[in-house]
Amino acid sequence: MSEFLMPSLGADMESGILVEWMVKPGERIHRGDTVAVVETVKGIIDIEIYQDGVIDELRVQPGEKVPVGTVLATLIGEGEEMAVQQEPKAPEEKAPPEKPELAPIPPPAEPTRRHGPRISPAARRRAAALHVDLEAVIGTGPDGAITVQDVEQVSAETGPAAMRRAIAAAMTRSKREIPHYYLGTTVDLSYTLTWLERQNAERPITERMVYAVPLIKAVALALGKVPDLNGFWVKDHFEMSESVHVGVAISLRQGGLVAPALHDVQSKDLDTLMQEFHDLVNRTRTGHISLSEFTKPTITFTSLGEQGVEITYPIIYPPQVAIVGFGSIIERPWSIEGHIESRRVIKATLAADHRVSDGHSGAVFLNTVNKLLQKPEAL
């Protein structure tokens, strides 16, 4: 038994339509005989067979289009049996092929807006090598592109100028990238302040505690309950921090506001925190702070009470996801269990990253801070 296949007649022939059989089952054929007529894209071609034998079955019917290599017929050699004669199948009624719907060509996609400045590949490499934050670099290349020279210039800067530049870039980025939500609450600070005055009365001046310290501790403890305000937004997701390192906003004499970190606040007692706070403010104001102390805080605390503002609307320091602000302490009439008293109150505001937390978390946080500040001796 052997097969006669639709031959390939050319490099670009893919299929052919059988037009006519020149032989019948049972007919003896010889090498070189034309056995079929096939229609191709170029025209009608006689197909010859390259073997001797007897036609057994014709497998493809006139009118059928088949790919190159399809078995057109089978043959039997000498001494073989013919297959049982079968009624030639009537060619199937083929539905005319559907005209393919031409898919509409989609309009070209809107070009994505470029995020951030242009940075040359060489500048990127240099910045990585010098540990320069590209956010802090202003480009002077073509179209404001950041060049190697720009990176090197920033790297060469030390002290307040570099810091200011870094913070300015960070604030711009914050407003551009972080969807802020704001919550505020008024905290009755009277218990804390009274407790503090009594503590300080028994201490020498140099060891007296400022009220910011219990505020900071309260914030750190509250974060234990609402951890999605404590950590970093990295690329496209939130990385929670186990410890709470509170960045403390400190104004500089020469202008500008920086927020270096107090570390592991949740686990330190108030006295320790006071010492560290004191040290931090001094070093910041004298310029003995390193850039890395700015990148460690997991949340920032800002208090503008001394400047006399009642309420703050702070801006989150990226890559942090929240910032807590306190206004000045004001004596206000306050309702307590139905009767009016004069109390010292302070407005606490939370700005948080809506990609990570929502109003519920923020509310829980502020309420917890509030509650903690009603029991200062437990801080």
Binding site: P7, L9, G10, A11, D12, K42, Y50, G69
Partner: protein
Amino acid sequence: MNENEVDSNKPALTREHALELLQGMIRIRRFEEKCAELYSAMKIRGFLHLYIGEEAIAVGVMQALQPEDAIGSTYREHGHALARGISMNAIMAELYGKQEGCSHGRGGSMHIFDAATRFYGGSAIVAGGLPVAIGLALADKMQRLKRVNACFFGEGAVAEGEFHESLNLAALWKLPVLFLCENNRYAMGTALERSESVTDINIKAQSYGIRAEVVDGMNVVAVETAARRAAEAVRRGEGPCLLELRTYRFRAHSMFDPELYRNKAEVQTWKERGPIVTFMEQLKEQGLANDGDIDQIEAAVEKEIAEAVAFAEAGSWEPVEELTRNVYTERAQP
């Protein structure tokens, strides 16, 4: 018969030579038929241009050429290559694309090259080989070598500028070129009378001052006679010669050609005047060959072809890592 046509006398043939000529033609015929089969079975790919019907020309011309002569050919070159003496195994392996092929498998059917027999390749560009042939002739002339540079081309090449430039330059510089125009009347699908204002090619050659003859390309003895005469004139340094060899191809231009441009009756007429059938008849008439001889030839040819196919089948594919070899001459590493 016009004054330019060669009178196909019956030459004095020895039996040995007659059988040599007959075997040469049958060998080509069967080889080409096998190629058609292999192509349909997708063993040979690309383009395949068969020489069936034209065998007398290759066989007759090669009788007139010496081993030191050079040959340039066309894409319809299997007959030339076989008659020149390139091993059938190497040719078949080349058609398969195997690295045992004469061109290392890199050329295929249209680009058979063989340094040993000074076979400078088929050209896929019609008339593209003529300038190269006159260049080989120029080298011979400048080196004072008495060799013939044979250049095969079809009548379609006559329309190309390169034909005219080459003939002019060959005549102007009296170069030892033997121009061999295989006029099979159809350039792919276009008949000669539809593309040339003057269809007598030999006249065009004469207009360049080149001696030219018309030869009955179906008659192997006539071809040999004319080729010897022309080759010797070229070898003697008398300048280029052109032979217009009138022939016919029995099969389509290539495998994928429904031959819409000619009718079957015409093909049949030429088949009846084919080079092999007429020569066989002649030899039998003259008592130079009998059926036994022919059977022997067929058997020998069949064996040689079967071996060539087996050789090609068993051949190996060049490793892909070698892809960029032989683009430039390899340099010795410093």
